[in-house]
């Protein structure tokens, strides 16, 4: 079954209201990323997570600034089902193992921001895409899965915000060669792009933000379209 996920409720209005609305409209999962999370903001984040969790009846993934078992415990206690980790896991890969042995792999989503450089390779970027590393995307994903990551949230920086479709090649490589679900992110502009990432890249789920926030594509319309195109989705 292919999932349609939603990201970053904070951009476009009241996150609690939007979360509830998306859940009601048929979103398969909510992903809430606070990319500017800092220590001072953490308490606010867990309070907000708690409010959203009370109002949604679908899986709820939360990320942003998570770097310890304690951080995750707090978020789960406030109603998150899974967490995403990114920069902190890259800097200290044992974090993945610590979290998966404490909470189970199903709870640990590794987020990767990746960019294809002129040499044709896809590299891992950190700090919300600001810092380049020499690590190749596939290599890092593979290592993270070995350490216990249960899902990969893959964002292509080349495609993000361009509305020209998801990054098919790198998504397909990860989703067909890794034994865990891969959520494709970055580049959705039309309903056909979703179909393409499911059929051509074998993505397990597709994630988008602005096209839903700004009502360019309606969730019920998108899911109906996918169903008509023989993609296995929940209506």
């Amino acid at each position: 079954m292919k999932g349609v996920n939603f990201l970053d409720l904070r951009d476009a209005g009241d996150p609690v209201e939007l979360g509830a609305l998306y859940a009601q409209q048929g979103a398969d999962e909510l992903v809430f990323l606070d990319i500017t999370a800092t220590v001072e903001k953490r308490k606010t984040l867990s309070e907000l997570v708690n409010k959203i969790a009370h109002h949604i009846n679908i899986p709820f993934t939360v990320g942003g600034g998570i770097s310890s078992v304690q951080d995750v415990q707090t978020l789960l206690y406030n109603g998150a089902d899974k967490v995403t980790i990114n920069t902190s896991a890259f800097k200290r890969p044992e974090l993945i193992h610590e979290l998966s042995s404490e909470f189970g792999s199903q709870c640990v989503v590794l987020a990767i921001d990746t960019k294809q450089e002129e040499d044709g390779n896809w590299y891992v970027y950190l700090n919300g895409g600001r810092t380049k590393t020499e690590m190749e995307c596939f290599e890092w994903a593979q290592k993270a899965v070995e350490l216990g990551a249960g899902e990969i949230l893959l964002t292509s920086m080349n495609n993000d915000g361009m509305k020209n479709g998801f990054a098919i090649d790198i998504t397909r490589k990860l989703s067909t060669e890794l034994p865990v679900p891969v959520i494709a992110s970055g580049g959705a502009g039309t309903m056909a792009h979703f179909k393409e990432v499911f059929t051509d890249a074998s993505a397990d789920a597709a994630l988008a933000a602005s096209i839903f926030h700004f009502k360019e594509i309606g969730i019920p319309d998108l899911k109906q379209y996918l169903k008509e195109n023989e993609i296995f989705v929940r209506i």
Binding site: M1, A23, H54, N57, G79, D204
Partner: protein, 197 residues
């Protein structure tokens, strides 16, 4: 109606509590045997690992308390698996309520293990599923499954066909997470509260 949720070393209890709140129910989250025994209905949820959870339950004598419950009990996901006789996970003897062994999903037909995501529930039996359509979607997260047997009251296909719901006497179990399965899941929880017993 007094509902109790079994508190033990497994995750996801909070999500169950919030889901009950959304349908207008409240519950005590407790590991106190007397409070559990005296509740009208009990929910045994969980996301966890079999051998460490059984060890935890045994140390507190909760294994016997759960197996001796006389009121309706709903095991959710890992809770349902612990209610079977044995789990391949850590080669663990479980509570022995459902005569069924829990095995790891075979990697066949291109599936990924664990199954994480929405899937359909079929062959629905008993009033737990009143008002739920065949092929309705629920949210699943698991690597191990119970085969189809005499206690099966619902099935799902993931590489193979398996039991996604079990029932024996006052014990009920679902492999998916009704607390995360949108309106279908809310209906199942409501049915357990209002129609079972």
């Amino acid at each position: 109606m007094r509902l109790a949720i079994v508190k033990y070393n497994a995750g996801n209890i909070q999500s169950v509590l919030y889901a009950l709140e959304r349908i207008g129910a409240t519950a005590d989250v407790t590991d106190n045997p007397e409070l559990l025994k005296s509740a009208d209905k009990v929910i045994f949820p969980g996301v966890g690992e079999a051998s460490s959870s059984m060890k935890y339950l045994k140390e507190r004598n909760l294994d016997k308390v759960i197996a001796d419950f006389k009121q309706p009990v709903l095991g959710i996901c890992f809770g349902m698996q612990l209610m079977c006789t044995h789990s391949e996970e850590g080669n663990t003897e479980c509570l022995g309520i459902f005569e069924e062994k829990v095995k790891k999903f075979p990697v066949v037909n291109g599936i990924k293990v664990p199954q994480i995501g929405w899937n359909q529930i079929d062959n629905l039996q008993t009033s737990l599923f009143d008002g739920i359509d065949e092929n309705a979607f629920c949210y699943f997260v698991h690597s191990y499954y119970a085969a189809i047997g005499e206690h099966t009251i619902g099935t799902t296909e993931y590489g193979i066909q398996y039991s996604s719901a079990l029932h024996k006497n006052n014990f009920w179990g679902v492999q998916y997470h009704p607390e995360k399965s949108a309106t279908v899941g809310e209906k199942i929880l409501k049915n357990f509260i209002e129609k079972i017993g």
